[in-house]
């Protein structure tokens, strides 16, 4: 029984709509539902679920389509009513001005002296809106993705011309003047400035720094495409210049995937000009050349964070290795105990919500356990053919488009990962699950409630299973890191302070179980 409502010309952002759909699916008698703007892409998506009714097919891009598949007419109608109520509900305001501004001009009048626009509307509208914000003298953080690369370049060039920072598109995280923007953690203020082309990387590095007692002056997100040759690292370079000139910043950290060689040249040239120590992590690639005396390359996010902490506190940067070594020692003991429980060496499956953690896992794990496959491989050779059929050791980025179309990001909505935790644990070849939990603003506010049931279920299905997790976050985050860690530990999860630490522990467990059960033939 499918029922449909079309609201002409009613625009809602996709995340709000997905939240409504999630609530509808939880209603009694509802089999499935779709609450989408009736764009061509969305019609394609809901066609697969059988919800593409004739009315929706006829609806236009700017029309809202609500379709419910329910067991009875009553349930379908109740769900449609609930959908309309949810959509019309006026959200409680959260500080600042109570009244919603009608548009940009009204907002500029309402909040005199506004200097940053945070934009998270659908990608096809975001570029024009960002351009308008720049015209009005606003710095821009563009959270939206699916913005064409030419638009990104034009916006960034315009920003440079006007002396305005353009973060993004696809920039998930920033910390400006101490304030967390979008997906960010509540960190201490301090003297370390970050420029990051990776949102998760920025969160991990800033949270680790804060948890070690140092702090962040500014953290600039560039958007994931910034270091590509088409964009030319405009924002990364601009960010370095801004941090170099910022009196509150004494140490700089760069977090990125390996840039194109010609772009890397520009970046190293800029680093050479900075008269402050610079730490850089290019996950999956390392700068080998000697740029300057106080330049410190790092292999992992963790190493970059701890090096920055040492520099910020006036310690020798080499002390970072000692911190990591001490952690390794502890992890080694833990790994032995865990490995002892296992009769055979089996496979590791990493189910990640943060894309950068998947890269970091691929930097760390192969040294311990050999070949690791991924849907986001650092080396294309190790790509997965089918992300839903894992074999051998594998690490999965659940934030990749193949998983997120029509669904909120896995840092918000755990549904898919929860299913996979149980289904992977149930496979006889799996003995270690590796997870990340990212806390902070924007992320799931009740992570324990959502993740504990599948974990309990996983342990029931697989008596030899080890689950290792890292928790990215701080004590002052809305979810409170220590509460989440305790909850996970109570459920039987081994929690490490960093993703790198979690990867090493997981790898060690496999390695040690492997050496005990010689010839189990993992690499065959």
């Amino acid at each position: 029984m499918i029922k449909t409502i079309i609201r002409k010309g009613a625009y809602f952002d996709s995340v709000s709509l997905m939240q409504v759909a999630k609530k509808l699916n939880a209603l009694d008698g509802v089999i499935d539902s779709a609450v989408v703007m009736a764009t061509k892409e969305n019609k394609g998506i809901i066609r697969a679920s059988g919800l593409l009714t004739a009315e929706i097919l006829k609806a236009a891009d700017n029309d809202l389509a609500i379709a419910v598949n329910a067991r009875t007419i009553c349930a379908a109608e109740a769900a449609l009513k609930a959908a309309e109520e949810l959509l019309d509900k006026k959200p409680a305001s959260s500080g600042g001005s109570d009244r919603k501004a009608a548009g940009l001009e009204d907002a500029l009048k309402t909040l005199a002296g506004a200097n940053l626009a945070v934009i998270s509307v659908a990608g096809r509208f975001a570029g024009a809106l960002a351009a308008q914000c720049l015209e009005n003298g606003l710095n821009v953080m563009l959270f939206s993705d699916n913005v064409p690369v030419e638009t990104e370049v034009a916006l960034k060039r315009e920003g440079v011309k006007r002396g305005l920072l353009v973060m993004g598109p696809d920039c998930g995280t920033a910390i400006i003047n101490g304030a967390p923007i979008a997906f960010a953690n509540s960190v201490r203020r301090g003297n370390i400035g970050i420029v990051a082309a990776s949102g998760t990387g920025l969160q991990e590095v800033s949270a680790l720094i804060s948890n070690e007692g140092a702090g962040i002056s500014q953290a600039i997100g560039t958007g994931s495409r910034d270091v590509k040759i088409e964009v030319g690292a405009i924002t990364l370079l601009e960010g370095l210049r801004m941090l170099a000139a910022d009196p509150a910043t004494e140490v700089l950290v760069i977090v990125s995937k390996p840039p194109h060689p010609s772009i890397l040249k520009k970046i190293t040239a800029e680093i050479g000009k900075i008269r402050k120590p610079v730490v850089a992590v290019f996950l999956g690639g390392e700068i080998k050349e000697k740029i300057k005396g106080d330049f410190y390359p790092a292999k992992t996010l963790e190493e970059a964070a701890y090096k920055a902490v040492c520099l910020a506190k006036g310690w020798k940067p080499a002390k970072a290795r000692e911190i990591i070594y001490d952690m390794n020692l502890k992890a080694g003991e833990l790994a032995k105990t865990e490995a002892a429980k296992k009769k055979k060496a089996r496979c590791l499956r990493g189910l990640f919500s943060g894309g950068t953690f998947v890269s970091e896992a691929q930097v760390i794990l192969p040294e311990l356990i050999g070949e690791v496959r991924s849907n986001a491989p650092l080396d294309k050779k190790f790509g997965l053919r089918d992300s839903m059929k894992l074999s051998g050791h594998a690490v999965i980025d659940l934030g990749e488009d193949e998983f997120t179309v029509g669904r909120p990001h896995p840092m918000i909505d755990f549904t898919l990962r929860s299913k996979m935790i149980v289904s992977e644990a149930a496979k006889p070849e799996v003995s270690v699950l590796l997870l990340d939990l990212v806390l902070g603003y924007g992320s799931n506010l009740r992570p324990l409630e959502d993740i504990t049931p599948p974990i309990t279920e996983a342990f029931l299905r697989n008596r030899e299973l080890s689950i290792i997790a890292s928790v990215t976050g701080t004590e002052t985050d809305p979810q409170t890191r220590s509460k989440v860690v305790k909850g996970l530990e109570a459920a039987g999860v081994l929690v490490m302070p960093s993703n790198a630490g979690a990867c090493r522990l997981a790898g060690e467990i496999i390695r040690l179980s492997g050496s005990k059960a010689r010839g189990a033939g993992l690499r065959s």
Binding site: V15, D61, A102, T110, L111, N115, N139, F143, A248, P478
Partner: protein, 467 residues
């Protein structure tokens, strides 16, 4: 190349999109405001880029057009018979509201109004004959707007109807409108029963001569001053005209008494004006028409100079695109209905009265009219947000019409079609609702957002033809 001053300044954030992003900001004391977002009306990004490239020139043109609208001095100078005073008027011509429409595409109330007019003119003796004549091709139809006139609802003007003459003393142009008939079964809502024709005859033979004489006695009545005062008394002069009608009554009553042929006539005429809270509506429309017509014909101006509906189509005209109409289907208003009626009975939006919104009044000034906020969600705050939203799409603020609650800020005036197309914000219009069947009359009153198509088409045509 400038350097960003972001780090050294107090962070103040405009959040557009996910509202939850404001939580982190407010937790650390950062001021933020949520800005609503709507998709642009046109998907043609290239046209937006083109208008941006020519922004300075368009801005100058709009400033010039708007200045003419704001500087208009519309005064009521007299009355006359449509045939005598309206340019191009003819005995076989009937003027109607909105953009051009053929008899075949006309909605029920407009057809009913035309039938009433034909009987009133003595061209048909009963409704059946009137309907035959109307469809015969012997009667010509044209928009009021193309004859310097405006009419509420069906907006029917026929040759022998008396009309007000409003002169814009600044530019010298004229505008015309009929006398308002009151509520209930009336021609403008498509009613054509004998009582309707009878009232029209009384208005022609008693009301018109008395008002005409009184206006002549006074010389002129400054309509702009009345509207400015009425906005301070709770009117927006579209759906609420109580204060403006009272002010008009105060202005004209002594003259009516002095010039009427006998006290009984004076009393009846004044009772009629007094008994109709919407008597001033037709004058507020003529005042708006006289003001906006002065803003027509400015090259490169994207200013909207007319919004009008014929009950089938919603039409828009721009200053810089001549007499061309840009149309789209007229929507059914979101209204409060009289007992016994519902949205199912409602005709799509109809009337030239959206000329008031075009002039910064009506829905654009609803923040000044707390008494009618039931139409817009029930709270004064709702009314204020509607007015505030209109500043997003207007070229300027009014110098005369001001809103007390907004610290006497001028009403949002002069819709810039580029701003509307870019922001996706559509003009907000107060309106009465006609029954979709001819002859029934008014069934409710309410508000609506103008439909997107006419504005998208106007924008695209304007931008494409920009040289």
């Amino acid at each position: 190349m400038a350097v960003s001053k972001l780090f050294g300044s107090e962070l103040k954030v405009i959040n557009i999109g996910l509202e939850s992003f404001r939580q982190g900001l407010s937790d650390c004391g950062v001021k933020s405001v949520q800005a609503q977002f709507k998709p642009p009306l046109s998907g043609e990004a290239g046209l937006f880029a083109k208008t941006s490239r020519h922004a300075a020139r368009i801005g100058r043109a709009n400033k010039k057009a708007l200045a003419r609208v704001l500087e208009a001095r519309p005064v009521l100078t007299g009355m006359g018979t449509a045939l005598d005073v309206i340019p191009g008027m003819a005995k076989d011509l009937i003027l109607h509201a909105g953009p051009p429409v053929t008899w075949g595409r006309m909605c029920g109330p407009m057809r009913g109004g035309i039938m009433a007019a034909l009987m009133y003119e003595g061209l048909a003796k009963d409704p059946a004959a009137a309907e035959r004549l109307a469809a015969s091709g012997k009667i010509k139809y044209a928009p009021c707007h193309e004859h310097n006139a405006v009419g509420p609802m069906a907006g029917i003007i026929s040759a022998s109807m008396p009309v007000f003459i409003v002169k814009n003393e600044a530019a010298g142009n004229y505008a015309y409108a009929t006398q308002n008939e009151g509520l209930g079964k009336v021609l403008r809502y498509g009613a054509y029963s004998p009582e309707v024709i009878e009232r029209l005859k009384w208005m022609e033979t008693v009301l018109y001569p008395a008002l005409k004489a009184a206006i002549e006695f006074l010389g002129k009545i400054d309509l702009k001053a009345i509207v400015a005062q009425a906005l301070h008394m709770g009117d927006e002069v579209h759906n609420r005209n109580r204060a403006a009608t009272s002010l008009f009554y105060r202005a004209i009553a002594p003259a009516v008494i002095r010039t009427a042929r006998d006290p009984e006539t004076a009393a009846k005429v004044l009772d009629f004006v007094n008994g109709n809270d919407h008597f001033f509506l037709n004058l507020s429309m003529a005042l708006s028409k006289a003001s906006l017509d002065a803003g027509r014909g400015v090259k490169d101006s994207s200013l909207v100079v007319a919004m009008a509906r014929n009950g089938t189509d919603f039409g828009v005209q721009l200053s810089g695109t001549g007499g061309r109409w840009f149309t789209g289907p007229a929507p059914v208003p979101d209204a409060l209905y009289f007992p016994g009626y519902s949205k199912a009975d409602a005709n799509p939006d109809i009337g030239d009265s959206a000329i008031t919104e075009t002039n910064g009044l009506g829905g654009f000034a609803i923040a000044a009219a707390p008494a009618i906020v039931q139409f817009v969600g029930g709270t004064a705050a709702d009314a204020v947000s509607y007015t505030l939203a209109m500043y997003e799409i207007t070229a300027g603020e009014n110098n005369i019409y001001k809103i007390p609650y907004l610290n006497f800020r001028g009403t949002p005036t002069g819709i810039d079609v580029i701003k509307a197309a870019r922001s996706g914000i559509l003009p907000f219009i107060d309106t009465g609702v006609a029954h979709k069947k001819a002859g029934v009359g008014q069934v409710g009153a309410g508000v609506l957002s103008a439909p997107p198509e006419p504005f998208a088409r106007a924008f695209e045509y304007f931008a494409r033809n920009l040289k």
